[in-house]
Symmetry: C2
Subunit: 346 residues, 2 copies
């Protein structure tokens, strides 16, 4: 297993649970190795920049917000051990460990910009803000859940993905902990199976009843299994409510509309791209054919995500509350709200 | 590999191509081993009843019509080697090699009922009829295909599945061979990946351009890849046009309707259950959780098929031509047509 090659198995892992998959511990960063889940619960400790870059690049830590938090701590770790041009090089290496993860570059830049050089405090602030955002988002969501019934979700949007409580999965867990008697149908999420591997694990940890289905069973599940709502996360949201998210989201949104089931997207304000008029402009990233094909040489179309039209989204769940249609009014309004997290910092 | 344990690798396999996956050869039955595809093209020869039962039970031969043809030849093979109660026991063993395959029991009963005991002739007739049905079905379908464009299909419905030309896949190949410039997007078909393993292989053999996608990419593919029609097979069709078919069919039908894309079901008349008023009465067979889950103990809902409402089906393609709505008229009408295959036999 690759997790044995880099980092070190942590023996004492005080406070590190599946709710807190990333934690600073004085001279390194402990993290839950997502490559080993669900077969094994392994906590590793990144002790230097090589460990940090490796964990990010090989998906030991994945999920855009979680990578941001981990990368921020990585910068603090680098600053303990390096200086001058070596430190600048370390910042650059961490920043580029996964080029497409927007949160990572943002977090590294924010830490580096800290005027007094107290990088650890900045990293802790980024982490605290993430936890707070996820908590508020989860609280906003509770009212949308029925007191009893089933919900359907796709991919992984829990603590492992954000290093906080999670977005869509955080909302489900918040609703469950508020006393609602809900059970989850989790789509396995081909080709990389984040639902089967990580979401089922996290729901088990949280004690929420969960049942795994193949992605294409979503429609019959909606019809026969009393699904009350569908809830997913997002990678990027346009000004008109169009949502780029993990491949399969669009299919589920269409099936939810057909069955008259509410379809919710849980995402912090930072996921909204207010400069983007619609989802039409979002390029569909394609990944390697090897993720899907069995016979070598077979042609594969392997889009990493799809774009769901805003008209199929019942509402967005954010740390600022529920955002409802018409989105051409409510999403620009969201942009104008004062940043209470920044306000807290001062 | 299990295919090395039973049967024998055939050296001479005259005439046995992927268009003819099952063939009688005098003292045994040659067949393409579907367990080895697509990694290896292996032809095995079943030399006795044990080989026949093993090939059916372990999916060396799969697809309801193909199993029927293979089982019929199996009875002829048994009759060469056995007599009396031994032969009766062999018939029973073959008949029960896969209890849920309706065609198998039907074919064994038909061979056994042959008054003059010429079982081989009866098996050949069953096979010939299957080939003829598939050919006529494919011919019916050609007019529905555009002269150029892409089509989407699900699961495997080609020669391997029927021992003839196939149903939905046979229709695609017939359209392609008639000169239409079409290309196929094939859904991988979780959990057992018949699309990725068998459909991609068969399209490659037939020379039809094919691209593999994960099942949940169907909607974005319909939106972005110029899909002109969706075509699938069926396990059972009710009097109102409701269709039981491989899990995922219902999801694709909803997405096709959302995108205004025609959704066709290709199936011979024998797939219509004229005694069934609607699909509501069809029980949803659930298969083993091990086909889907990664972590032991995880709960799984693993329906083997789903039911698509007749109102989502643009038309049925049969050996009697195209059956269009309103189905409460056209399907009962289909029931009354004279059986031209039986007529040919006399």
């Amino acid at each position: 297993l690759p997790h044995l090659l880099h980092g070190e198995r942590a023996t004492a892992r005080k406070g590190l649970t599946s709710d807190v998959p990333v934690a600073w511990d004085g001279d390194g960063i402990e993290f839950i190795d997502q490559r080993a889940l669900p077969r094994e619960f392994v906590v590793l400790k990144a002790r230097n920049v090589d460990d940090v870059v490796d964990a990010i690049a090989t998906l030991g830590v994945r999920g855009a917000p979680a990578i941001g938090v981990f990368g921020a701590y990585g910068c603090a770790l680098a600053a303990q051990q390096l200086g001058g041009t070596e430190l600048e090089r370390a910042f650059a290496r961490i920043r580029e460990a996964r080029p497409t993860a927007v949160n990572l570059a943002w977090a590294v830049d924010r830490v580096r910009a800290r005027a007094d050089g107290d990088y650890l405090t900045e990293a802790r602030t980024i982490h605290d803000e993430q936890v707070e955002m996820d908590r508020l988002l989860g609280e906003s969501a509770i009212e949308l859940f029925p007191s009893t019934g089933n919900v359907l979700t796709h991919c992984n949007t829990g603590p492992l993905a954000t290093a906080g409580g999670g977005t869509a999965l955080g909302a489900i867990v918040a609703a469950y902990r508020s006393g609602k008697s809900i059970a989850v149908f989790a789509c396995e999420t081909r080709p990389l199976l984040q639902g089967a591997r990580l979401t089922m694990y996290e729901l088990g940890q949280a004690g929420v009843p969960a049942t795994l289905i193949v992605d294409s069973a979503a429609a019959i599940t909606m019809r026969r299994k009393d699904i009350q709502l569908v809830i997913v996360g997002a990678d990027r949201i346009a000004r008109n409510g169009d949502v780029a998210n993990k491949i399969g989201t669009y299919t589920h949104a269409i099936a939810a509309a057909y069955h008259g089931i509410p379809f919710y997207v849980a995402a912090p304000r930072s996921t909204f791209d207010f400069s983007l008029e619609s989802g039409d402009a979002i390029p569909i990233e394609e990944r390697r054919p090897e993720e899907v094909r069995i016979a070598e040489g077979d042609a594969v179309y392997n889009p990493a995500f799809d774009v769901t039209p805003g008209r199929l989204v019942t509402a967005f769940i954010t740390e600022y509350g529920i955002i409802r249609p018409p989105y051409f009014e409510s999403i620009p309004d969201l942009e104008t709200r004062p940043n209470f997290l920044a306000a807290k910092r001062h």
